[in-house]
Structure formats: structure tokens, C-alpha cells
Amino acid sequence: MKLEIGNFYVKDIVFGDELSFKDGILTINKEDALNFVREDDRITEAELYIAKPGDSIRMTPVKEAIEPRVRTDGEGLFPGYTDDLRQSGNGTLHALKNCSVLVVGRHWGGFQDGLIDMSGPGQKLTHFGELNNIVLVADTNEEFEKHEQQKMNDALRRAGHKLAGYIGKCVKELTPEDTDVYETTPITKRPQEINDLPSVVAVLQPQSQMEAMGYNDLIYGWDMNHYLPTLMSPQEILDGALVSGSFMPCSSKWSTYDFQNFPILRRLMDEDGTYYNFLGVIMANLNVAMDQKERVIQMIVQQATELGADFALVTEEGYGNPDADYVGAIAALETAGIKVVGVANECTGRDGASQPLVTLDEKLVAMVSTGNVSELIELPPMDTVLGELEALGRDGNSGGWDFDENIGPSVREDGSVLMEDNGLFCGDQTVGWSHKTMKDF
């Protein structure tokens, strides 16, 4: 399987007459882009903004992030979701780098939505604080969930995915600055010297714990709640096979942008064949009931064993209940003789005194920690708020509250914010961006 990603590095974004990319400047015709967004008649209100590193801009409720891209063969970016099914992972993509399309609710947020700051102490708390962002702020007629804490955000998220494809088209015919090539040989067809190396498998546990459909991560458009572990090529994930969902505290979330760029997977591919043989990805999921968890863990171990894996990455998109899936998978792989390095955030409470994962096992011996979901974060006011700041305290955001007799509300009158790390958009960056670790104090 061979995937080439041609990179177009975005230095600046401006609104102008024509959608185009030249000398690092991405120009967008705002009205054309908004008219494209409004083709979905569920969208009742839409506006576009630009948010760059250093801008005094706060965004919330952020619902999704997508890297703008185009397939040079004209196929759609997200097969089975926004586009017809196709095999992901082969061919050529052109991607606008250092750039993302963000979708922000005009008014209404929920448990699963997040906050991004483009400057100040909050900038480094999300990966998107460092990117040039095209920000779609919109509202919809999805009245049924307007006041629900758990929102599907279907119209807004789809608008983001489609807009990323719409913008990406401007680099379809251009020559990229450089190109990343991700090529793999089928497992049994690799040369002897590669097959003799210690072998590594990546076990990913995307979020799929919502029993109702429409909230979970999608694989080729299929809800991952109704799904069992499957062997995949890493290129499939980088090429739109996975689409992020709308369920779980936001700092633990893997956005679609994260799937498209999955740093740990790319690092595993970069060094593949040097001192290990990267076998590929066992794409698992996260479940609610114990038998569902156990079934998936059993299948992960069986597939890893059958592949002859010696070592494994295990990482989860979530914390709390899914720690049972995460810790269970690591322990079961170790028991089967497959040595694991785990990557996840922790939940040690605001005072840092709680048990870091819901379950612990002595077999967890090599762990990378990416942050504390309950850490209290204080952020100064920003000049501009895109979306509605009140949503953080009002709409049941996982990191916000409207009242606390001791520490006051999350959203203060002067526009400053006191929140938990939980509410930062993809803040714990478990896919590999994270500069955070956990330390004992």
C-alpha cells in the first residue's frame, strides 16, 4: 500500500476574490465558501473567520477539526461518510499543512465540545492554538438536541468535513513543496531481514461507547459501536478511513485532524524496518458492557498473537470507564508475551490525589502519560470570542460549570475562564502531539 501526501505549508490565510493557494497564502472567497456550507439546509446561520497563532481569539464550543485536503484522483476525502466508499490508503493526497478547518457552534455546546485559545497561556493547551485555522461558526435547525448535553452535532461536523474538502481543492493541480511517502509491503511478502526484526503492532481504541447511533467515531462511515477489532494499514487511517465522533470529554478526543495526522503512527512508519518490523494497526474500539470489553480484548490479543507481534502500542480515546478496555488490553497482551507501551491521559482529580486510571494492573510497566483531565486551568479574557463563551458553563461542557460556591463559575463576567482540562479541544493530544506528562508532587 502506498500513500503519498504532498504538503502545502500555509503561512497565512486571507479572505479574497478567489479560493487559491499561492506562496504560502491561502485565499478564501468567504461568500462562496459560506454558500457551499449553506447547501445543507439544516444550517441556519453561518460565518467564517480566520484564527492564527498569537491572535487574541477564544473559540468555544469547538466541535471538530479537519485538515483541508484533496485527492488528486478526484475521490472524496472521507469514504462512506461524506463520499462514496472507496479503499483508503493508496494514491496521492494534497494537504494544506499547519492549517485546519474548525467547526464552532454559534450558540449551543455540550459535554463533548471544547475550547481553543490562539494566544496567552491557553495557546499551548491545544494543538490548534499553533495552527492557522479557518473557523466556521454556525448554527443549525437540529432543535431535538439544542438543549441536550450530548449532541451529535451532525450538521456542523459534516459541514466541517465538506468545507475541508472544498478548500483543499485549490491545491489539487499544484506542485507540493515536499511529499511524505507512506509505503508498506504486505506482511508475508517482506524480506527475510525485515521479518527477522522484532515486530510491533499498533492497537488503537477509538471512542465508540455511545449506544445510540450518530455519536461515535466512524470507520468507512460505519459506527464503531457495532464493530469488532480489524487489521488495518496505517495509511488507511491517514487517508480518511476514520472520522471523529461527538461523544466524550473533549480533551480526550481524537479529532478527524488527529486521525489524518496521527503522529505516533507516522513515527512508527518512519522508523519501520530500522530496528523493528511494523505489522500494522489492530483497529479496536471502546465499549460499555464488561462482556463487550472482554470480547474485544480477547480478539485484540488473538490477532496480535496470530500476527506474531512482539511489541505493541496501545492507546485509548477516552478516560474513566474506557480505562477498563485500555488497561485490560495492555494486561492481556503482556500476559500473552507481547510487551506494550501504553499512551493515555490520566484522571488524578483537581487535587491530583486520585488513582490515575480507573483500573490498574501491575502489568502496566511502560506508560506514556499525556495529561490530567481534571487539572484546573485559569485563562485570561481574549479580545474576541468565536462561538458563545457562555456555552462553557451553561451547556454541560465536561470541563465547565455554571456554579460553584467555592471557586465560582467557569465563565466570569470579565471574560476570563476557570475550567478543567477536560474541556480543552483535543487538549491531551494522546495521538502524539502532547508536550504534557504527569509528575508526582
Binding site: 522484532p198 513515527r267 507501551v341 491530583g352 490525589a353 510497566v365 493530544q429 504527569m438
Partner: protein
């Protein structure tokens, strides 16, 4: 200039050795013993030195603590340091005891230092910052500046960094910090180490679990001698064994042979980890003497052991809990107890 107060024992307070370990607390203006070095290295003036014999602190703890808190009451100070205590067990416990009391009463930062073998470490590391110190007094030249380094962070309103950077015993709190390397970098390094067998440090250390095998079933319940134990803090109302309300190190054994139930007003809970109203109104909701006595009369089991054992579970370290269990076990065995009901809360 900010102000500091130093606590030392009789030896470092230059009162003598073991012969003066029974001397009660005293306060002195200025600096005595290590307080002189503290005065040089702290970003504060050491205004007073407090000296107390280790044995006096150990056996008359409440009185010693109250006296010292009384000394401090009229004084202004920004930090309180004690020790270093090295591996001197009584001195370490004394430093921990007084630091904890001063922190709770006055809300000022407190810092001390002990060797990892000092029993004061496990007793107090969750309450106060204890630097990892040497085992003998000759390590003073290293240990005292380490205390000052942390104390000066407090004095200059700087954040106290992670335990491994400042070399103190973790206080049981984990927080996120920013590092140069990304999670992907750290993952690749750890993977490389696991593949090559090189050493690495996991970012989350899971403590070794001390699993106890499940006991064999009681063969004949109708003849069994059953004892009640609890971590729910049920004690006679005057709490005769002075069991602490949290982070307990003490336990009690109470006679219930002549009662059919625990009466409110006679027994209560001292547990600080839950609302005590229900347990104080009816202590049997935690320590079910009433039900056990009734079942004994019905012949469900042989007999109820005439004593129950009690401590407080909240905040109590596993190590302390294990020690208390080892103290209680021989008594249960001596009395031929066949089975125990451990009532948790």
C-alpha cells in the same frame, strides 16, 4: 525580610543526647544549632529556634504540640522548617508531627527532611513536604540546603516543582507538567528501550499490589467464633484510644459482651471521610452488633467474639493498615476466632 522558625530535637538543640530526650519543648530567640545554617541559606531571617526532646514529643505528643503551637501563636513567621532528621526515627516522627500541626493551624508552608528508612516518611509524606535525606547526621551539609531550596521557593512565591526534580517524597499528588519531547517522541524512546532491553522510566508507576489469597471456607458455621472489625471509626464516645479521624495509625479493641446493640451516645464514629450523622444516630449501621447478636441467638453461627476492633480507613496508608492488621491478628488467633467480618464504609 521574611521570617522563619526552626524546630530541632534536644541533640541538635545542644541540650545533650539521650539523657535529655525527655525534656519538654522550649522556644529561644535567635538561632541554635542547625538554625544558624538555616539563617544563612534561607531567604528569611530565623527569628526563633524551638527545641523539644524526642521522647517527650513521642510520649506526650498532644501536650508538646499544644505547647509549641502556643509559642507560635503570638509570632509572625512565613515558613516553618524542622530537622533534618536523617534516619533518627523518633526525631523524624517528631518533625512530621509538629510540621503537620503547624501547617494545619497557621497555614504556613512547612518543610523537613528524612531518610527513606525513617518511619516518619510513610506517616507524614502525604501531609507535608519531606526532602529525601541522608541516613546519618554527617549528611547535614547536603540535606539542609535541600530543605532551604524548597523553602526558598515558598518564600519567593515560586511553584513547588515535581518530587523527582526537587528530591522530596511524593505527597500522593500527580499533576500535568510540560516537557520538551512530544508524547510520540517519548513513546518511540520507550518502545526502543523495551525492544533493546535498555532501561527506561515509565511515566506512570503502578504500585506493586500485595494480594492476599482468599481464605478457606469455615467448615462448620454453627460452631464458629466470629469477630467484627471495621475501618469505619466506630469507638466509645470518648474515643479512649484517640484514633485519628483520618490517616489513622491507631486502633482500638472494645468489649461488647454485655450488650445486644451499640447504643447511640455510647458509641460514635470518628471517621472524617463521610457524613457521620447516620452512624452517630445508630452505630450499628456500621458495626452491626445488633444483627450479629440476633443471628447468634438464632444459631446461624456459633458465637460472636466479645470484642470488636476498629480504626479509621480514610487516608490511611496501606503500610499503616498492614501494620495495624499485624498487631490485631495475634489477638484474634489467641482468642481462637474462626472468621472475621471486616465492615468497610
Amino acid at each position: 525580610m521574611k521570617k522563619a522558625i526552626v524546630y530541632v530535637n534536644q541533640f541538635f538543640g545542644q541540650l545533650g543526647g539521650e539523657d535529655t530526650a525527655g525534656v519538654g519543648p522550649s522556644i529561644h530567640e535567635g538561632q541554635i544549632g542547625p538554625a544558624m545554617a538555616y539563617n544563612q541559606k534561607l531567604d528569611a531571617e530565623v527569628t526563633h529556634t524551638i527545641i523539644c526532646g524526642d521522647n517527650y514529643m513521642g510520649t506526650n505528643t498532644e501536650d508538646a504540640v499544644n505547647q509549641i503551637l502556643g509559642f507560635l501563636e503570638p509570632l509572625e513567621f512565613d515558613i516553618f522548617v524542622a530537622g533534618p532528621a536523617f534516619n533518627a526515627g523518633r526525631y523524624g516522627v517528631a518533625c512530621g508531627t509538629i510540621c503537620k500541626a503547624v501547617k494545619e493551624k497557621f497555614g504556613v508552608p512547612v518543610v523537613t527532611s528524612m531518610n527513606q528508612e525513617n518511619p516518619g516518611v510513610e506517616m507524614f509524606r502525604k501531609d507535608i513536604i519531606i526532602l529525601k535525606g541522608g541516613n546519618i547526621a554527617s549528611k547535614m551539609r547536603k540535606d539542609l540546603p535541600a530543605v532551604c531550596k524548597v523553602a526558598n521557593l515558598y518564600l519567593n512565591d515560586q511553584p513547588i516543582g515535581p518530587a523527582d526534580e526537587l528530591n522530596y517524597f511524593p505527597t500522593g499528588h500527580r499533576h500535568q507538567v510540560f516537557v520538551e519531547e512530544t508524547a510520540a517522541d517519548r513513546f518511540m524512546k520507550m518502545l526502543h528501550a523495551r525492544i533493546t532491553g535498555e532501561p527506561y522510566t515509565s511515566e506512570l508507576i503502578v504500585p506493586k499490589m500485595d494480594r492476599v489469597p482468599v481464605a478457606a471456607p469455615i467448615a462448620d458455621l454453627s460452631k464458629a467464633n466470629i469477630a467484627l472489625l471495621t475501618t469505619g471509626g466506630i469507638v466509645p464516645v470518648d474515643n479512649p484510644d484517640r484514633i485519628q479521624s483520618a490517616s489513622a495509625t491507631r486502633w482500638g479493641k472494645y468489649d461488647i459482651s454485655d450488650m445486644d446493640r451499640l447504643e447511640s451516645g455510647v458509641f460514635k464514629t470518628v471517621h472524617a471521610g463521610f457524613d457521620p450523622a447516620a452512624a452517630n444516630a445508630d452505630p450499628n449501621v456500621i458495626m452491626p452488633v445488633d444483627v450479629m447478636k440476633a443471628m447468634e441467638k438464632e444459631g446461624v453461627y456459633g458465637k460472636l467474639h466479645p470484642y470488636f476492633y476498629s480504626t479509621v480507613g480514610t487516608g490511611t496508608t496501606e503500610k499503616e493498615a498492614a501494620r495495624m492488621a499485624k498487631e490485631i491478628l495475634p489477638l484474634l488467633q489467641e482468642d481462637h476466632v474462626d472468621g472475621c467480618i471486616m465492615v468497610s464504609t
